[in-house]
Symmetry: C3
Subunit: 159 residues, 3 copies
């Protein structure tokens, strides 16, 4: 029993897996930050969706005017959804990639570029920077995930 | 060959990993339930998005009036998206946390509070309960994931 | 050190895990393809959300008219969100299922039907095919994930 536990927790001793764990935790925390930024803009711009969220502003018509969309809130929400669309594949494919036995230096290169590109993407979306800044950072992250998927399929292929 | 297979499937013998598997399956099934609730409200409220979904109600103008948004449908959809935004980080960070060798009792505490908070969040969103019920349950789940991420980064840190 | 690394990377030698890795990589790449299709429709239909994305079409009013929604773009985006809602549970539950020690033939059956159903679902959404084509393919994928979750809970149950 103890032996089994020791054996399976040792996955975290693998250096490539440790790097995967570090970068995945960082990029998922970054994605979670989008919720806080959305909440910040909803409160400062007074722009809500749910009637129960505006109850503290009073009853009836006085509260209803805060049920509205705001460009800044919508911008953060688009950035958040873009994170989901891109970070979910990274987390899933990255795990399989980390288990496929790549060189540590190659793996670090993939993880660092992806996480750097996604952090840049968030700044590019929220500031916002002129295009093609945001588009390029999206493409860089996309290509890294694609490159990891290629190695996973080459190593694991069993259809 | 058989030896390898036996070794890797034994991860499921680790008690912390079994707890992770149990709570992750439960909370992902809960998230999947949101699709059924959306479908239920779309059909009972007759509120659809795709023209091909209203074809059974007749052709032309008679079917077009069912291409509309409905407050109940939109509410379930917001709950579903909120699940995606919060359950995805839990599943990813929770896996790394389960492999970082925490005490079973500590791990169970994290998993139970997170899954309990997300189930409460769904009820708070759909009933809906007055704030800050929904907000607090969201914050509780968020904090649990944050706490797990802290341990993952402390254990695995390799940048 | 080397021994640890060898041990953990051997997960990829497990045939069920290799099948999981193959099908997960394929279905996540399919989901990532939705971003490219969205970009294709945004550019060909000239329908954008962010003002900075239309800057290359000129300044002021001439560019503003491209800040609009387009039915084809919205359709792809709904397909993408539906992918997220369904592929995230597959990836999470499927990993636990692959580690629960199922027969290779049973696991392959689950993975093949799920990925086949999701590929069909994308075609059904984008062409679009008349209902219940899209609805049925959604239900098939949903049922496969449910079946895997049942085995995970039966094998790992620790509440």
């Amino acid at each position: 029993e103890g032996g089994e536990m020791a054996k399976s927790t040792q996955l975290i001793d693998n250096e490539v897996f440790r790097a995967y764990a570090t970068y995945t935790a960082i990029v998922l925390l970054k994605m979670m930050l989008m919720s806080l930024i959305t909440a910040y803009f909803r409160i400062t711009r007074k722009a809500f969706v749910n009637p129960e969220d505006t109850a503290s502003f009073g009853k009836g018509e006085s509260a209803k005017k805060f049920l509205r969309t705001d460009p800044d809130v919508e911008r953060v929400r688009r950035g958040h959804l873009n994170d989901l669309e891109n970070i979910v594949p990274f987390v899933g494919i990255g795990l399989l990639y980390a288990l496929s036995g790549p060189e540590l230096s190659t793996a670090l290169l993939h993880f660092r570029i992806f996480v750097g590109a996604r952090i840049f993407h968030t700044f590019a979306y929220l500031i916002p920077l002129p295009q093609p800044g945001r588009g390029l950072s999206w493409a860089v992250g996309y290509s890294v995930t694609f490159s990891m998927a290629y190695r996973v399929l080459k190593t694991a292929w069993l259809l």
